[in-house]
């Protein structure tokens, strides 16, 4: 079946032609792969490690930066809250003060108004009383003169009588 059977081959003895062929083929392979392929793979591996490590470093930096900002914001927020609380308290205190002040002023004003009113009322009453007294006196005298038929022209006597009468009236009225 094998056409080269004329030549007896031993499987243990290498054929020198095949050694040459294998050697050359393997040498070519070694040359190409070890010169053009594998060193570049090592470079790629290194570049990849660098890239990954760089990426990790960058991510770490960004993380710490973010954390720092967060802390800062938190601090600012807390500060703002304290400020707000303080402002609110102040405002509340101010409002209370203002309220009290206004109340006091209003009370004062109302007291004043009431006092003025009372005073005016008093004055008017006095005036009315005075006027009435004069008028009532004249009326009473006229009336009495007409009834009695005699003119009580004696001034002094007349005033005395009227005044006495009015005083009596007052004292009864005030009772």
């Amino acid at each position: 079946m094998n056409l080269s059977a004329a030549v007896e081959h031993s499987p243990i003895l290498p054929l020198w032609q095949e050694i040459v062929v294998g050697g050359v083929a393997f040498a070519v392979l070694c040359f190409v792969l070890m010169k053009f392929v594998f060193p570049r793979m090592e470079e790629t591996f290194k570049a990849r490690v660098d890239a990954i490590e760089g990426g990790l470093k960058r991510a770490e930096d960004a993380q710490s930066e973010a954390n720092k900002l967060l802390e800062q914001y938190k601090a600012q927020l807390a500060e703002a809250r304290t400020d707000a609380a303080k402002i609110r308290d102040d405002a509340r205190a101010d409002a209370e003060e203002i309220r009290q002040e206004i109340q006091a002023r209003a009370r004062e004003e109302s007291d004043r108004i009431i006092a003025a009113g009372r005073e005016q009322l008093n004055a008017e009453r006095q005036q009315i009383v005075r006027e009435l007294r004069a008028e009532v006196g004249t009326l009473a005298v006229d009336l009495a003169g007409r009834i009695v038929g005699e003119s009580l022209s004696d001034e002094a006597r007349r005033r005395g009588t009227v005044d006495r009468f009015l005083s009596e009236l007052e004292s009864t009225g005030s009772r």
Binding site: L3, S4, I12, L15, E18, F26, L29, V32, V37, E43
Partner: protein, 264 residues
């Protein structure tokens, strides 16, 4: 294949013999017995070309985020680099990774022919190729050892184990024998014998099926069984292909490791 083609005719050559491994020249010049252009040497050239073309194409424009081809190429090299070279030799193994990777690829591709249809014989079933590779490994580990320690210290490291002086007369010849004589021989023969036996097994079961069929038609079921065995053995062969390439590479790395380590 030749065996099968012939088997389809009337005379089935059974059992297969060593001559079946030696195929005629595939080019007319130089005569049919010329050994320069046989199927075997053609397969060696083809596998070499395939590896070179694939790796050059896959690594034409390497990117940080690899594509599929680049990823496959990198995984192959990365496997040898990290799982063989660095694991056995430590950080200094990176220096040997390119050679070990080339060695593994060359053996795997040449082994693979033993189950590729049409080809179906591995160049490594001819001892010339494993022998040449083993010779390189042998020269390599001795060279590395001598370069590191100098000839005298390297020999002392290799030959004199830490043992009482009175056993040394026995141990030194044994060490010499195992390190400097048996190693290259066992490397070559292990690979060669596996590929040779694999091819022989496939031949036996394939041709055996035809032989039985021809001897007696009633044996047809057994012929079918025989061919099923061929398929099963082909799968086994696939395992052996990768295993033997791995073993060859790992042993080479281990010899280098033995040569450069301080302690014996």
């Amino acid at each position: 294949m030749i065996g099968q083609a012939v088997a389809l005719k009337s005379d089935v050559p059974f059992p297969p013999e060593v001559g079946d491994f030696y195929l005629p020249s595939i080019v007319p010049w130089g005569g049919l017995d010329s050994l320069w252009f046989t199927k075997i040497t053609a397969l060696v050239w083809v596998s070499t070309a395939l590896i070179i073309v694939f790796f050059l194409l896959a690594y034409r424009k390497p990117k940080l985020v690899p594509g599929k081809a680049q990823w496959i190429a990198e995984s192959t090299y990365g496997f040898v680099r990290n799982n063989i070279a660095v694991e056995m030799l430590g950080a200094r193994g990176v220096r040997f990774a390119p050679y070990l990777a080339t060695l593994l690829l060359f053996i795997v591709f040449n082994n693979l022919w033993s189950i590729v249809p049409i080809a179906q014989i591995s160049p490594n079933s001819h001892i010339a190729f494993p022998a040449f590779l083993a010779l390189i490994s042998y020269v390599l580990f001795n060279y590395v050892g001598i370069k590191k320690f100098g000839f005298r210290k390297y020999m002392r490291n290799s030959l004199i184990p830490p043992a009482p002086w009175f056993v040394l007369p026995i141990l030194i010849p044994i060490e010499f024998f195992s390190t400097f004589l048996v190693r290259p021989f066992s490397l070559a023969v292990r690979l060669f014998a596996n590929m040779f036996a694999g091819h022989m097994l496939l031949l036996v079961f394939t041709l055996g099926g035809f032989a039985m069929l021809q001897a007696n038609t009633a044996l047809a079921p057994i012929s079918v069984l025989s061919w099923l065995m061929t398929i099963a053995l082909t799968l086994l062969e696939l395992l052996v292909i990768f295993l033997q390439a791995y073993v060859f590479t790992v042993l080479t790395a281990s010899y280098i490791q033995g040569a450069v380590s301080e302690e014996h």
